[in-house]
């Protein structure tokens, strides 16, 4: 027997005026605060806007785009960096197709940015028609990658594998080249600079430190005494010293100990330092997650007959990592910004290039603000998208809900 009670609809959400009245002007204090805040915001925006658009002299940024992007990479070999960018934008498009929610915002942003760059109305000696067309190809490649995945049966594992292959190809073959080769002549990593160096160090550091960190965290919890002791020693030593020290250790002291012939590439040494540093912190983040997994989970998995390895890989790690996504991504973002320290060991990352540009022209001495604001903006953009992606990942995994 269904009862005839009237089912009321929930009240409609408050209109804008209602919202403003309740949240911004609910009482005298709140109203005054609102007005003061709005005034401050208005004036700040006007100041910032004026500075950005009118007062600032953006020459150190506008006139040297290539330096910021590729450093001193030989200008006649730039087709290789262009090709690398094409490969990566294609992959970004494919990643968008496979992992839509996480990559979409970044893919669209990148596409729009590159399109704007290509069609930039101001004349510039770097932006020849060929260059503009080459840059314009990138948003098209993003879209192409997206459609390619949508129309075929390419899946996440394939794209992940492609990322590894293409990254290795770009960093080990396309960009450095080979001595004596005509198609890909040797370009030493010492002349690489700017964005490509920052991205290689950050992406490489992040991708390599993640599995190493997980292994260290598991090692620390291991029952085998040697594994446990080595893990703890590694983690606590690295965590006990500043990143600069580790950079020096790898760059200078390692070079002193090794014979001249087996001199490891300077960029590679810096990458190793960043990886080792990040892995130690990653290990502690993961360990926190491991401790958060209830022991009942392990008991249930064991009683089903799963081996220790299967219990860790299928039950414990997924739950542990889910629990610490915010701190892991925070670690990634920190690492990304910490790459700026390599200027101390003589590597020209984005920040290093910015500083050296300031000494090109005596007029640029007073234009430090412009350069550093620009570099900060670039870092901010990447950090924001990493944060955004991590929030999307958390939502998709239902973190905090189940």
């Amino acid at each position: 027997m269904a009862s005839q009670t009237n089912v009321l609809a929930p009240p409609s959400p408050p209109g804008l005026l209602d919202w403003m009245r309740r949240n911004l002007f609910s009482n005298w204090f709140s109203s005054i605060l609102t007005i003061v805040s709005l005034t401050i915001i208005y004036f700040s925006l006007v100041q910032a806007g004026t500075w950005i658009l009118v007062t600032a002299d953006w020459r150190p940024v506008k006139e040297y785009p290539l330096l910021y992007l590729v450093g001193q990479y030989p200008r006649d070999q730039l087709w290789r960096t262009g090709l690398s960018l094409w490969l990566f934008t294609l992959l970004i498009g494919m990643s968008w197709g496979v992992w839509e929610k996480f990559v979409k915002a970044f893919a669209i942003f990148l596409g729009i940015l590159l399109a704007v760059l290509a069609l930039f109305p101001l004349a510039s000696e770097t932006l020849t028609t060929e260059v503009r067309l080459a840059v314009l190809a990138n948003p098209l490649l993003i879209y192409l990658g997206y459609m390619l995945v949508r129309k075929t049966r390419i899946r996440g594992q394939h794209v992940a594998l492609l990322w590894m292959i293409v990254s290795a190809l770009v960093v080990l073959v396309i960009l450095p080249g080979f001595t004596g080769n005509d198609v890909l002549p040797r370009v030493e990593t010492t002349v690489w600079g700017g964005m490509i160096v920052t991205l290689i160090l950050a992406a490489g550091g992040i991708v390599l430190s993640f599995p190493i960190g997980i292994l260290l965290a598991l090692g620390r919890r291991s029952d085998l005494p040697v594994v446990k002791v080595v893990s703890i020693l590694f983690i606590e030593t690295i965590r006990g010293v500043p990143l600069i020290t580790i950079l020096f250790m790898f760059s200078i002291i390692l070079a002193l100990f090794l014979p001249v012939e087996s001199r490891i590439d300077r960029l590679l040494r810096a990458l190793m330092a960043m990886t080792v540093f990040s892995a130690a912190y990653m290990a502690e983040n993961v360990r926190g997650g491991l401790q958060a997994v209830p022991s009942g989970q392990i008991e249930a998995a064991r009683s089903l007959g799963l081996t220790n390895f299967q219990v860790t890989a299928l039950i414990v790690l997924p739950q542990a990592l889910r629990a610490v996504i915010p701190s892991i991504v925070g670690q990634f973002i920190s690492l990304f910004k910490d790459t700026t320290l390599v200027v101390i060991v003589g590597i020209n990352d984005l920040l290093g290039i910015g500083k050296s540009i300031l000494s090109i022209d005596p007029e640029f001495v007073r234009l430090q603000g412009e350069v550093y604001v620009f570099i900060a903006a670039v870092f901010w953009v990447f950090s924001y998208f990493m944060s955004y992606a991590s929030q999307q990942i958390e939502k998709a995994l239902g973190v905090g809900e189940r």
């Binding site: 209830p294 009942g296 989970q297 008991e299 249930a300 998995a301 064991r302 009683s303 089903l304 007959g305 799963l306 081996t307 299967q310 299928l314 039950i315 997924p318 739950q319 889910r322 995994l397 239902g398 809900e401 189940r402």
Partner: protein, 251 residues
């Protein structure tokens, strides 16, 4: 080597002792379970009944005594332990479902990874089990979206998916709201009537009366008394048994 002989008990425990540091949790427990028997283990909290069944699938180890499950001796040898765990299923008081997997994935995980079944075979078997426990429509939900009674039924289906010879229950209804206890007990009763060997630690005396072949009373780490439900409820021999029964049957 497994004992195919009908007369050999499927579980054989000889003089099991277990210590936690200086505290002795099990004091010389000996027990035999035959194939198809339904055993209800009951007793006051701290009596060692949960510890005892957990030693059978090596979630706890025993310091003295021998345990044989389906003819395999339970030792430190990992291969023996894994072989025994494949034949014993366990249902926990806290369900312990895997929260990051759907109900169907929870059920098919072990058959796929341990018994190496192909995915579609595991999923078909999983659906049959979900129907057997009465919740086929929940297959693609996550455990957090289910009620306690439903979660426990999924846990039972998950253990059954490995087609174990023995099912062990560790206070399966103690964490459930009263209105959900019946749905889980119904599943356990059906399981018992279908011939499964069951070892259940529980306070649900109605369940014991309905399907138990034997009831075992534990207190302070040892078996005090055992018998058929009729013997235990109507003619308990030991004072401790009588005292405990009077405490739990009075309300």
């Amino acid at each position: 080597m497994t004992a195919k002989d009908q007369n050999t008990p499927i579980i054989l425990c000889k003089d099991i002792h277990k210590w936690y540091g200086n505290f002795q949790a099990l004091k010389g427990v000996s027990m035999e379970v035959n194939k198809g028997e339904v055993i209800v283990i009951f007793g006051p909290s701290g009596s060692g009944k949960s510890t005892f069944i957990r030693t059978i699938n090596r979630l706890e180890d025993h310091q003295r005594g021998q345990i044989f499950v389906d003819g395999i001796e339970l030792t430190h040898d990992v291969r023996n332990i894994e072989a025994i765990r494949m034949e014993t299923g366990m249902v926990f008081q806290q369900f312990n479902l895997f929260p990051h997997l759907t109900v169907m994935q929870n059920i098919t995980l072990a058959p796929i990874w341990v018994r190496k079944w192909p995915k579609d075979k595991a999923e078909r078997a999983g659906m049959e089990l979900l129907e057997r426990v009465g919740i086929p429509e929940q297959a693609h939900k996550y455990p957090g979206q289910l009620s306690g009674g439903q979660q426990q039924r999924v846990a039972i289906a998950r253990s059954l998916a490995m087609q174990p010879k023995i099912m062990m229950f560790d206070e399966p209804t103690s964490a459930l709201d009263p209105e959900m206890i019946k749905e889980v007990l119904d599943v356990m009763v059906e399981l018992a009537k279908s011939g499964m060997t069951i070892l259940a630690v529980t306070h649900e005396m109605g369940f014991a009366r309905a399907v138990a072949d034997r009831m075992i009373f534990f207190d302070k780490g040892e078996i005090v008394e055992q018998g058929t439900p009729e013997q235990i409820f109507n003619h308990p021999k030991e004072d401790r048994t009588k005292l405990f029964l009077s405490q739990i049957l009075s309300h």
